[in-house]
Structures are given as C-alpha cells and as structure tokens.
C-alpha cells in the first residue's frame, strides 16, 4: 500500500478531531491550549499532504510555506497564552478553565 493523500487527510482529520475533543473535555487551561495546538498541527498535516500528494495543477510551495507560517504563528500564540496564564495563575492560584465564569449571561 502506498501512502496517498487520503491517508494523510485521515491523519489530519484525526489530529484535528482529537484537538476539538480535548477542547471540549479538558478543564485545565494548559490542556486547552495544547488542544488548540493539536488542531493547528492537524491543519499542517493536511497542508503538507496536499502539497506533496495533491492535484497536478497544485502549487506545492504555497502549502509548505503556509505550514511554516502556521507553525510560527502558533508559537507566537503559545507565548502570549502562557504569559496570560501565568498572570492568571498568580491571581487565582489555579488554571482551571471552569473557574473563568464571572463573565456570563
């Protein structure tokens, strides 16, 4: 069996869904952050997969460049997120997302 676009798309979708599932099920804000990263990585697999195995008229470099951008920006986002989490932890002594419910209604 040769690896093709279908397999990569399945892996990508699976990663993405794991991320979504994590976001819905976890309570720790750091875990939520990791779930978002998983979703991004699912996307990256799809992008690189398309670039490598996609249709003949496809521009492979676009997809790869896109994936690089996604990785970079995900890193930036994590940096900001961790900083915010640290501040929150100092005030609350916890990073449980469920306790962030003062703003509602």
């Amino acid at each position: 069996m040769t690896i093709g676009i279908t397999h990569l798309l399945v892996v990508s979708a699976a990663l993405f869904c794991v991320g979504v599932f994590g976001l819905l099920s976890r309570r720790n804000a750091i875990a939520l952050l990791m779930s978002v990263e998983l979703m991004f990585n699912g996307v990256n697999v799809a992008l690189v997969g398309f670039a490598r195995f996609g249709y003949s008229n496809l521009r492979p470099l676009s997809g790869m460049a896109f994936a690089l951008f996604v990785i970079t920006i995900a890193a930036a986002e994590v940096a900001v997120a961790v900083a915010l989490l640290l501040v929150a932890y100092r005030r609350h002594q916890t990073v449980q997302a469920d306790e962030l419910d003062e703003l509602r209604g």
């Binding site: 978002v36 996307v43 799809a46 249709y55 997809g63 997120a81 915010l84």
Partner: protein, 502 residues
C-alpha cells in the same frame, strides 16, 4: 520554477508603496517600543501623540493610495490587493484606531493602566487589520487575522490586576485559537481543492469546475465559520459579550469596531468576489447566519443590565445586518450596502463605546445601566451624544444607522431576498426597546440625594472624539452621497476580479 526567479529579489518599489501605510505603522510600532524605554511614566501621553502622528501619516498614505489604486492590481505575487476596496476599509480602521488612541491616555491614567506597550499593540492590531483588509491570499488573511488577534488578546488582558480582564483575555485567546484552527482547516481544504492560496488563482481554477466538490465546499463552510467568529455572528458569537465586558473599555471601543470592519472586508473579498461563481451554494448559509445573528443579538440584548454587554449583543445583531449584504451576493448593491454599513457602524459604535470610556471613573469601569442614570442632568452634551449614537444604532433618520439599514435592506429587496429585509426590519423593531431604554435612563432625573456614578470630567480629547464620531454619524446620515459614492467606487475595483455595478 514557480517562485524561483521573482521572489528572491528585493520586492519592487511599487509593491513596497502598496504597503506604505502598513510599513509606516510597523515602523511606528518599533519606535514606540523603544521610546517607551526612555519615556518617564508621567509623560506617556507623548507615546499617544507619536501614535497619532503615525496614524495620520498612514491615513495620508491611504488617501493617496485611494487615488493611486484607481486601477486595482495585486502586489507581492498576487498575495496583496492594492485596490480602492482595501483603502476604503483601511480608512475606517485607521480612523477608529486614531480616535481610540485619542481617548486612551485619560482613561488609562484613571484606571492605572498607562503603559507604553498599549499604543504599540494598538498599532500592531491596526496593521493586522489593514493586512486583512487587503489580503489577496489565504496565507496573508491568516497572518492578518493572527496579528490583530494576538495583539487584541494582550490588550484584552491589559488590566492585569483585574480578574475580569484576565478572564476575557483567556477566553478570547482559547476560543480565538479554536476558531483559527477551524479557519485554517477550511483554508487547507480550499488549497487542496483548488491548488492555490492566491485568491485570483483560486477564482480562476474555480471558473472551470462545477463548484460541487465537497472538499471545496466543506472548506468554504469552515472558512466561513472562522470569519463568522471574527465578525461575531451567531452562533459563533459566544466570546463577544464576555470579552467586550471584561476588556478595558478603550480596548473594547477599538476591538468592537475595527476588528469587525476588517474581518468583514476580508469576508466580502473572499466570498462575494472569489467564490462568486458558486454563490448559490453558500448564500443560503450566510443568510441563515445573518438571521440567527439578528435574532439572537437583538433578543439577548433586551434584558441586559450591562452597557458593554448590551452593546456587544447589539454588535452581534449589527453583524447580522451587514451579513445581509454578503448573503445577496453576487448583487453588487449588497457589497455597497455592507461597506456603507461598516462605515456607519464604525462611527456610531465607536462613539457609543467612547462615551462609556470617557465617563469611566477611577474605580470600577462604567458598565451597569445604573451608572448612566441621570447622566443628562450632569453631562448634557455627553448624554445627547450618547442618545444620538443610540438613535443611530436603532436606525432612526437622520443618522448613519438609518441609511445603512436602508441600503442593505434595499439591496436584499433588489436581489429578491425580501425575507431578509423583513427579518431585518422586524428585529430592528425589537432593538429599539433596549436602545431607548438606555436613552431613557440617561434622561431619568435622579431622586433627591440619590448618588450617581462619579463620572469623569470629559477632557478636550474625549470631547473631540465624541464630536468627531457624532459628526461622522450625522454626515453619514445626511450627506449620504459622499460615502455612498466612495463605497460604489470601492466596490467597482474590488479584487480579485472587478465587477461592475449594474
């Protein structure tokens, strides 16, 4: 072969000039960060002045670009659109940023939040929005969205001692990341289905297909979810009330206006003009989301007791009205209506939030309805301005809101989507209840000896911003032709493929 020769060179001058406003603001961003190191805390208003100068320069570049971009073209190998559509939106975004910066020093000083990064972050977000407005490639769209979002995540949590602000920032970040994931997945699928990331090329490759490729259509759907999140359209609006309420009010002022404007610009560019050949596939979904937004936004706002939340829900409803202009694609009147609505929304909503910002006192942010009771008897001009903005949000003539609604509704009727106009009119009637309720509260005379909220004195800058917003709201409501012509002109040249107004 693809990029080998071209992209290794330094970008040609005409490409650089196309990005002139963005470059000015990025330069100012760096300068501000360095200036902050040498500016004593008491003189931080200087940083606001520097930002205003940079924004004025960028505005000049945008105005120049408006005339220069008469013949639309793409720059940077098709990844950025240099057209009037983008300049139009840039103008709104820069004006919003400038007005926000102008009211910020007083507000931040009172709240004890006056730090230099604030202005740098506002400029960074502005650059992100302008990139988004002009983006002609999926990658640049993503970049723009993330640049503006990350800046706004930090700004939302700028009140580092307040739990609400922290909560808002974390919610915005986690949900925003989630939405970005969905958006990216959509982009990946579209890339897979069409083989391109540049909108022009995507449009070309779509021209030959039947447009029923599920891969592509799912991609379109996911992309729309990502945009709907950014413009806070229901049912992807959940973050909006919480973040608007928790963030410092000056940040909310900026975010509520500029983000929506920029995201809508990109939404229109991608959907109405890139996916123009398959409008019958997706307009139904957009119309549905528009209706849900109008209903949810207006109904949920009815029973609010927080000004910021009320305006947040009102913003959700306004997103619904603006989406009508997208849902009637490919009718160019819809785009014109949406653009006009964006300008009107920017002037009005910025004014309404600016009122709350300039009034906020030293302690708690001004937020609850009680805090505005009797305002008209202490601050008659400010109350009159707020009443005017509320009238505009409610869509009364002769304000901007009236003509904005008129234009999108007439576009809906023109495109034989009368049901959208009817939903719009029906929900507007509901909206009048909660807008007028706040208006009445301001004009309720406080009882003898009753304590009112300790409103701050309106400074010259604050008064100027309110006057400018009110003037904008009035001009858009009376001298309709001015912005209407500009919107038509912006629509004419919109990339990826210009379409003529019938």
């Amino acid at each position: 072969m693809l990029l080998a020769t071209q992209n290794l060179q330094f970008p040609p001058t005409r490409d650089l000039i196309g990005l002139l406003p963005e470059l000015i603001l990025s330069g100012a961003f760096v300068i501000l960060l360095m200036l902050d190191l040498v500016t004593p805390p008491s003189r931080r208003s200087l940083l606001a002045a520097v930002s205003l100068v940079a924004l004025a320069a960028a505005m000049g570049a945008v105005v120049w670009g408006w005339f220069d971009a008469d013949h639309a073209r793409t720059i940077y190998a098709g990844s950025f659109a240099y057209d009037r559509f983008g300049r139009f939106v840039d103008g709104i975004v820069i004006a919003s940023a400038a007005l926000t910066v102008a009211i910020s020093p007083d507000y931040l000083n009172r709240r004890g939040l006056h730090f230099g990064e604030y202005y740098a972050l506002i400029l960074a977000a502005t650059v992100g929005m302008m990139l988004l407005a002009g983006a002609a490639s999926l990658i640049v769209i993503f970049l723009g969205i993330e640049l503006l979002s990350i800046s706004l995540y930090i700004l939302s949590g700028f009140a580092h001692t307040e739990t609400r602000s922290q909560e808002a920032a974390l919610k915005y970040l986690l949900l925003g990341g989630f939405a970005s994931g969905i958006l990216l997945y959509g982009m990946a699928l579209i890339y897979g289905a069409t083989g391109h990331t540049q909108l022009t090329l995507i449009k070309q490759s779509l021209a030959g297909s039947s447009g029923t490729d599920p891969l592509f259509l799912v991609g379109v759907g996911l992309l729309f979810v990502g945009f709907a999140f950014k413009v806070s359209a229901a049912p992807f609006h959940w973050w909006t009330p919480d973040v608007y309420q928790g963030a410092p009010t000056s940040v909310t002022t900026f975010m509520s206006v500029a983000t929506k404007v920029a995201a809508f610009a990109s939404l229109i560019r991608v959907f109405t003009y890139t996916f123009a050949d398959s409008t019958d596939k997706w307009t139904g979904i957009v119309a549905f989301v528009a209706i849900i937004s109008m209903v949810v936004g207006n109904v949920a706002a009815l029973t609010q007791t927080s000004l910021k939340r009320m305006l947040a829900y009102s913003g959700i409803a306004q997103a619904g009205y603006i989406l009508i202009g997208v849902a009637v694609s490919p009718d160019p009147l819809g785009t014109v209506g949406s653009l006009y609505y964006l300008a009107a929304y920017a002037a009005t909503n910025l004014g309404a939030f600016a009122v709350i910002t300039v009034l906020a006192g030293r302690g708690e942010d001004l937020d609850s309805y009680d805090g505005i009771r009797g305002l008209a008897y202490r601050r008659p001009y400010t109350a009159a301005a707020m009443a005017f903005f509320l009238f505009s949000l409610g869509g009364f003539p002769p304000t901007a809101g009236f003509f904005a609604k008129f234009l999108v509704f007439s576009a809906a009727i023109h495109a034989h989507a009368v049901y959208l106009a009817l939903w719009g009119i029906g929900t507007s009637v509901i909206s009048i209840f909660y807008y007028l309720r706040v208006g009445l509260l301001m004009y309720t005379r406080p009882k003898e000896g009753e304590e009112t909220y300790p409103w701050a004195r309106t400074s010259l800058a604050g008064g100027g911003v309110l006057a400018a917003s009110a003037a904008g709201t009035l001009v858009l409501g009376i001298l309709v032709f001015l912005i209407y012509t500009a919107a038509v002109s912006a629509q004419h040249g919109v990339l990826p493929v210009p379409q003529q107004l019938a």
